[in-house]
């Protein structure tokens, strides 16, 4: 069985009150190629810097090979990094750049020479040893950075968007080279990128992150075929995401048409999000399917045609096909049950409330929250807070407190039901809590969504 090489436990990180990583847990196996994928600002680079030793977590532990890594200086970690813009030393030539780490280790001269030339051979730069750094192309610089890191034979190599500065064609070539190198060296790679194509082609495991949290961990195929949240479905490839219901086990409905699918365990008629990839729709004659629409626009994209189809109810669906169809044609759409992904809607707490002075909203006598809404004092409102935005913390750090009534295990997290006064609030968290425990609760003010609404259902 594969050994755990890196174990991240409950990592939190804040910069000047800004929370960058929230209770982050991840295990990385030996010889694994793991990609941290997410939009900029999701905390992926911060996480990499903490493993490298350039930042320290606000709380939580990093274990490497079973040993605690917190507080260990970067020069004492058996880990090397390839930086985004390579950070090569401009005053040294290619050879001396690669030899830098070996010289610090004070190895004998002939051994350094042998190791450096081996590393340069590995990145196909053996003829460039005497070159100055500023006389190299971007791709060559990237290879020098790789050689400089692997020459030290680290157990773990961190790569921070190493291909981001290169042009598209070169990027694609280097992807395969990197993957090959990882296999032949037998080093664990942690690769950070915002490019989903890179992540899918190279990795053994993809970790999708957003706003400092893990959204989904899995193989590239898993992530692509079975996105668990709307965000993942949108971020990885193109997706049609439509509102639907689960009629019963293995039958879902969207756009008023029932489709067989492979999901069960939902409650009857539960509202869900349905995800279908553009390439998974098949265009057929309009009388061969109940789901029909008119071709509204199309673009030719080399290998495929992208066709936008407006459905009867005004929903726009995108279809990729290799065949061309005329504009304005009414067509039918069919989809294989396997290709329908059903996602739970994110949990939401809904309350009725009253606006108070100074942008505060009163939900009950115990719960008064700050909000960005500038509605007038006394306005009756509906307050919505996503369960994932309800954060549990120490009592003195929080907005209000409550007693945990119930905990339900979900796929990647727990739903924690907390009673505060006569209200119950649900929090989705990956941290383990106990029933009966008293906990502090807080919600960022921008996550408190306030609307004026007539009809209020208290959930």
């Amino acid at each position: 069985m594969a050994k755990v090489l890196v174990d991240l436990k409950n990592i939190c990180k804040s910069f000047d009150e800004m929370e960058v990583l929230h209770d982050f847990n991840l295990q990385i196996m030996e010889n694994e190629f793991v990609t941290l994928l997410g939009p900029s600002g999701c905390g992926k680079t911060t996480l990499l810097r903490m493993i490298g030793g350039f930042d320290s977590p606000s709380s939580g532990e990093i274990y490497f090979d079973g040993k605690l890594l917190n507080g260990v200086e970067p020069n004492e970690r058996p880990i090397n990094t390839v930086f985004q813009r390579y950070a090569l030393f401009p005053h040294l030539n290619v050879f001396d750049n690669v030899a830098f780490g070996l010289k610090i280790k004070k190895l004998p001269k002939d051994e350094i020479e042998k190791l450096v030339m081996d590393a340069l051979k590995q990145v196909h730069l053996e003829d460039f040893a005497a070159r100055k750094i500023d006389r190299l192309s971007g791709g060559q610089q990237q290879r020098v950075a790789m050689a400089r890191a692997i020459v030290l034979k680290p157990k773990l190599l961190l790569l921070d968007e190493p291909l981001a500065a290169l042009d598209r064609k070169l990027r694609q070539d280097l992807r395969y080279e990197l993957k090959d190198m990882q296999r032949s060296l037998g080093i664990t790679f942690i690769y950070v990128t915002h490019d989903q194509e890179e992540a899918l082609t190279m990795s053994d495991t993809v970790v999708i992150m957003n706003e400092g949290r893990v959204l989904q961990i899995g193989s590239p195929e898993m992530i692509y075929n079975e996105p668990e949240t709307r965000f993942v479905a949108n971020f990885i490839g193109e997706s049609n995401i439509v509102d639907g219901q689960m009629i019963k086990d293995n039958v879902c409905m969207f756009e008023g048409v029932q489709f067989p699918c492979t999901y069960k365990g939902f409650s009857k008629n539960e509202e869900v999000d349905i995800v279908i990839r553009p390439e998974d729709f098949l265009i057929v004659d309009k009388d061969k399917s109940k789901l029909t629409g008119v071709i509204d626009s199309k673009t030719f994209q080399g290998s495929i045609h992208e066709i936008n189809i407006i459905d009867i109810k005004g929903t726009e669906l995108t279809v990729h096909t290799t065949k061309d169809y005329p504009l304005g044609l009414e067509v039918g759409l069919i989809v294989d049950p396997e290709n329908i992904t059903v996602m739970k809607k994110p949990g939401v707490n809904v309350y009725s409330g009253v606006m108070e002075a100074d942008q505060m909203v009163r939900i009950s006598d115990d719960i008064i929250l700050e909000t960005d809404s500038e509605l007038e004092e006394g306005t009756e409102v509906v307050v919505r807070i996503l369960t994932q935005d309800v954060l549990l913390d120490d009592i003195d750090e929080s907005d209000f407190e409550g007693i945990i009534q119930d905990i339900k295990k979900r796929d990647m997290y727990y739903d924690v039901y907390i009673k505060t006064g006569d209200k119950t609030i649900v929090s989705s968290t990956s941290k383990v809590h106990r029933v009966g425990e008293t906990t502090g609760i807080w919600v960022k003010r921008e996550k408190v969504i306030v609307n004026v609404e007539e009809d209020v259902e208290n959930e």
């Binding site: 490298g52 030793g53 350039f54 200086e73 970067p74 020069n75 880990i79 090397n80 990094t81 930086f83 985004q84 813009r85 390579y86 950070a87 090569l88 030393f89 401009p90 005053h91 040294l92 830098f100 780490g101 610090i104 280790k105 006389r135 400089r148 890191a149 030290l152």
Partner: protein
């Protein structure tokens, strides 16, 4: 060919006039430095090298051995030695301190960096007379507190003080140009904190450090105002020495020779620098 207008002639005259005004005194100094007589009206009479020799020979005997290089004598030679002693030492110290200061500022967050840069630039925009006077006040205070007499040491401190901001101003832009991860890359490859600074950062910013040192050197070598305030009564550099000589109504001819030498050295540096730059640019073009 296009006919020249009146404006063309006027502009040519202005340019010529400007250059004459700048270069005529230099030519005059050149000629005086080779003229054996003292009077400005006898320029060019009696060609001689003796004023140049005087720079290196006069008054050896009158120097107390203990104070040979920081001599409290009124001779020009002593003043020249003093000047170079102060300039070289203050350049070395202020370049070192300024470089360290820059690296420190660079590592701070933006808000603190801006604050420190304002503090750094203040002495630069401050008129010398204010800086000199403030330093004088401080040294008077030092004198009462620690019995520190004004002399070569206070001049050295003052020169280091006013040179550091110029070093920072030329090192910091270079630091902003290098890869932001340079320090971390060195740490990652096994350097200690200090090792990363000396093995990776400083070698990457040598051009900035050299130009900072040149700034410090030129600021120090011709300083008059601040030295005047803080040197006390016994210590002279060339500028303050010429000033006091002029008060006595007599400029030794060695001053001309000294100025010619300094002018030639400065010109040589500028010209060779230009040559190197253009050669580099040409090479770069060939490479591209």
């Amino acid at each position: 060919m296009k006919k020249k207008t009146v404006m063309d002639y006027i502009s040519i005259i202005f340019v010529v006039l400007a250059f004459v005004i700048i270069y005529a005194p230099i030519i005059l100094i050149f000629m005086m430095s080779f003229t054996s007589t003292y009077s400005l009206s006898e320029v060019g009479e009696g060609f001689t090298f003796k004023w140049y020799q005087s720079l290196f020979t006069t008054n050896y005997e009158s120097l107390n051995i203990a104070t040979k290089y920081i001599a409290n004598t009124d001779s020009l030679k002593a003043a020249i030695l003093n000047t170079f002693f102060i300039t070289i030492l203050s350049t070395i110290i202020s370049t070192f301190l300024g470089t360290m200061f820059s690296i420190g500022i660079h590592a701070l967050n933006k808000k603190r960096r801006t604050t420190l840069m304002v503090l750094n630039n203040m002495p630069v925009v401050n008129p010398d007379i204010v800086t000199g006077f403030l330093l004088l006040l401080i040294f008077v205070l030092f004198q009462t507190l620690f019995g520190l007499e004004r002399g070569w040491f206070t001049v050295l401190l003052a020169h280091i003080f006013f040179s550091i901001p110029y070093v920072v101003l030329s090192v910091l832009p270079r630091l902003n140009q290098i890869d932001p991860n340079t320090y971390e890359a060195a740490r990652d490859l096994g350097c200690t904190r200090l090792g990363a600074v000396f093995k990776a950062i400083i070698p990457s910013i040598t051009t900035g450090i050299v130009s900072g040192a040149m700034f410090a050197f030129t600021m120090s070598i011709d300083d008059f105002v601040i030295t005047m305030f803080v040197s006390g009564t016994e210590f002279y550099n060339v500028s303050t020495w010429i000033d006091s000589a002029m008060r006595r109504g007599f400029i030794p001819k060695g001053v001309y020779a000294y100025n010619v030498i300094i002018f030639l050295i400065a010109s040589a540096i500028v010209l060779s620098n230009n040559y190197l730059q253009s050669r580099k640019a040409r090479k770069f073009k060939e490479a591209v």
